[in-house]
């Protein structure tokens, strides 16, 4: 015999998240069988009735909240109802608490001013669904804040509008879909801990900027600012609105002695204008490097480089810290037969690998950017959550067509706290599957990180090396090695 009772809270609204929490915590009490916490509409009364949860004599209206409890004894049920009522009341008092976090840009500005009036807010980081991002960005810009906009899926019309507004006010609007920036030494989004130096970077590509900046750190050059502008800034539509402003700011920045742009090749007319602008800056004495992925390397007033590695080497040299990217010793000279499969978490790193495999004469390589929307749909980016890639790495072991696996490993702020471990486990599984079939798998990769990154560069590298991964100093070197081994070193 069980007991059933209810309590009605006339005209009481609580949001559904709070109701769900109250219902499940009440249901978890000893001796409680089932709990319902719903608005007393006719349809819900009918559902209660069907599920034998309708106490006799319950009278309530649609705007009343009713909590129904079924439990072992009358006493247990009464106590559970008391607890639920107490929880409802505490939700109410928490709601009134003035200490809740700021929920809008305006509240954030007020809160920071209240905390320390000498250090007012200067930048808003926006990471909300793209539909709303432009509205919030506009608000921030009108309040005099720079904007770092991580949100993607922002309509291009909105991007043009807010960037126009930002330009008018001489404020940065980094993004939308801006993954990486380092402003005054503060990393935003996905960024490595890069030493301060003299190279100012303007980047329309996230992991591209990470690879270039961490190589500058390796060279000892370091960066002054890394300004992300979002992947569409150099499209014909957006026309470099933010790149122009970023270049203005870097030109005026006393700490910047070299300027590098990292991007896919811009739209034709945009590229012409940008190169002319960079040439003019170079004539005034600041060396400029255009790192346009896939472009042909040329040396003129502007140094143009077609790879991230090439861009980093040129920028490091211009900053007086030549970067030595020696071929590591003890590299393999042969590889198992089979095609090259690239499983990447960094989009620009994947593009660079694709490009160099093609240049190396590899025609059957498959390089996947697992951070693309196509693969993430509703799941976290693989730089944050390495599991999706690990599954694919493990599966590659059962694919008889694959001989060489090509990987990136991105560490730094924003990235997974230990991306190497799931990769190492998956490589173990892949190798076991291949061996069971009488095959081998060669794994080549590079780590995009600096010694100061929180994950520990040496530790992450050590884990990969322990799993037999051949590590090269740059992503480009990894791709070149894969191409060479595939075309000339494949064992029969």
């Amino acid at each position: 015999m069980t007991s059933l009772n209810s309590r009605v809270f006339p005209r009481l609204y609580r949001d559904s998240v709070a109701l769900m929490a109250i219902a499940s915590s009440t249901e978890a009490r000893d001796g409680v069988d089932r709990v319902g916490a719903v608005m007393a509409t006719p349809a819900n009364i009918a559902i209660l009735d069907e599920s034998a949860m309708l106490p006799t004599g319950l009278t309530a209206a649609p705007d009343d909240l009713v909590i129904v409890v079924r439990g072992d004894t009358d006493e247990i049920v009464a106590e559970a109802l008391d607890a639920a009522e107490a929880a409802l009341t505490s939700v109410e008092s928490a709601r009134r608490n003035e200490d809740r976090p700021a929920a809008t840009i305006g509240e954030g500005i007020q809160a920071m001013a209240a905390e320390d009036s000498d250090r007012p807010a200067t930048m808003a980081a926006i990471s909300i669904p793209g539909t709303y991002a432009a509205v919030v960005a506009e608000r921030a810009l009108r309040d005099g804040l720079h904007v770092f906009c991580f949100s993607d899926n922002v309509p291009v019309e909105d991007e043009i509008r807010v960037k126009g507004l930002a330009r008018e006010r001489r404020l940065l609007h980094m993004g939308p879909d801006c993954g990486t920036a380092i402003i005054d030494g503060v990393p935003l989004g996905f960024a490595n801990v890069v030493r301060r130096g003299t190279v100012g970077i303007v980047a329309a590509s996230g992991t591209g900027a990470q690879e270039v900046s961490r190589l500058l750190d390796l060279a000892g050059a370091g960066i002054s600012q890394l300004i992300g502008v979002g992947g569409r800034d150099l499209s014909a539509e957006v026309d470099g609105l933010m790149t122009d402003l970023a270049l203005d700011l870097l030109e005026d920045d006393a700490d910047t002695g070299v300027i590098a742009i990292v991007s896919k090749p811009p739209a034709g007319p945009v590229a012409d204008r940008l190169l002319a602008r960079l040439a003019a800056i170079a004539q005034k004495g600041t060396p400029t490097i255009a790192c346009f992925l896939g472009a042909e390397d040329t040396d003129g007033e502007v140094t143009v480089r077609g790879t991230l590695e090439g861009g980093a080497i040129a920028a490091a040299a211009a900053a007086g810290h030549p970067l030595q990217v020696d071929a590591a010793s003890g590299l393999p000279t042969t590889a198992p037969p089979g095609r090259v499969l690239g499983l990447y978490t960094g989009g620009t790193l994947a593009s660079e690998a694709k490009l160099l495999l093609k240049r190396g004469g590899v025609t059957d390589a498959e390089v996947l950017d697992l951070g693309d929307d196509e693969y993430t749909a509703g799941k976290p980016h693989p730089m944050i959550d390495p599991e999706a890639r690990a599954t694919r790495i493990a599966a590659a072991g059962s694919d008889a067509g694959v001989g060489i696996l090509l990987l990136d490993l991105v560490i730094g702020y924003g990235a997974s706290p230990d991306p190497a471990t799931p990769v190492v486990e998956a490589i173990g599984a892949a190798r076991a599957a291949a061996a069971a079939d009488g095959r081998e798998l060669l794994v080549i990769g590079s780590v995009c990180g600096t010694p100061a990154d929180p994950q520990g560069l040496d530790r992450q590298r050590g884990l990969l090396e322990g799993a037999g991964v051949v590590l090269t100093p740059t992503n480009a070197a990894a791709a070149r090695l894969a191409a060479t081994l595939h075309t000339t070193g494949a064992r029969a």
Binding site: R11, Y13, R14, D15, S16, V17, L19, M20, A23, S24, T26, E27, R34, V35, G36, A37, V38, M39, T41, P42, A43, N44, A46, I47, L48, S51, M53, P62, D63, L65, V68, R95, R96, A103, T104, I105, G106, E107, Q110, I128, P129, G130, T131, Y132, V135, V136, R139, D152, N153, D373, E374, T376, A377, G378
Partner: protein, 232 residues
């Protein structure tokens, strides 16, 4: 909450988005207003301080026909299968009726029993069933079936007394073709496989299950159109 003869005015900040028949104010004003309302004396109503006269711009909140992408539909549909049980109440029960409701609306079949089961049904102060119905109404309009949506809306109106005051407001607007900004954000997910993930993420942020319930309705409404183009 509302006495007889009073009208509900939903005031939102721009972070939430507009709702039909509502009013959107700038963040500092919203914060002040919320503070004043929290301190209100229930007997006297709210005193609102410091509002300046301003230009009021009406917004068009109708959902109109769009190009629906079949891959986007699949992605959105997959996102609506997650359960979200609240004690004895699981909104998947209401979501399960969405397709049948959309089909009946298109075919001009009898929807009375389905609506009786859905309106006011399920967890939340805007019960899940109401979100499903509002979603179906939006989905039908996105699919270009505005007449079917209007007919279904006409069947919904007489049943509004069966749900909560907060929900009545949204559902009445939906029945006459107007939808909150957040519904528009979900409908936009139908356009392409690239726009779908943002809609799925947005849905997850509306209430405990409201966004997903809405999405289930939208997908059901949008799916029954014969004119879905193949994904590129």
């Amino acid at each position: 909450m509302l006495g007889a003869g009073r009208r509900q005015l939903v005031i939102t900040s721009d972070a939430f988005g507009l709702v039909p028949g509502g009013m959107q104010v700038r963040p500092p004003e919203f914060a002040r207003l919320r503070r004043d309302l929290a301190r209100r004396d229930p007997a006297r109503g709210a005193a609102i301080h410091g509002w300046r006269p301003a230009v009021v711009e009406p917004a068009d909140l109708r959902v109109t026909a769009i190009d629906i992408d079949s891959a986007a539909l699949d992605l959105l549909e997959r996102a609506t299968t997650a359960p979200g049980a609240i004690g004895a109440f699981d909104p998947s029960r209401q979501r399960a009726e969405a397709s049948a409701l959309a089909r009946a609306a298109r075919d001009g079949a009898d929807v009375a029993d389905t609506l009786l089961r859905l309106i006011g049904a399920g967890p939340g102060s805007t019960p899940a069933g109401d979100d499903v119905v509002a979603g179906v109404l939006a989905g039908l309009r996105a699919a270009g079936l505005s007449e079917a949506a209007a007919e279904l809306g006409a069947r919904v109106l007489p049943l509004l007394g069966r749900t909560t005051a907060a929900s009545t407001h949204y559902l009445e607007a939906a029945a006459t073709g107007r939808f909150a900004d957040r519904v528009h954000a979900l409908v936009a997910g139908l356009r392409s496989a690239r726009s779908a993930p943002a809609a799925i993420r947005a849905a997850a942020t509306f209430g405990a299950s409201s966004g997903t319930d809405l999405l289930a309705g939208i997908v059901a409404g949008a799916r029954i159109t014969p004119a879905i183009r193949k994904s590129a």
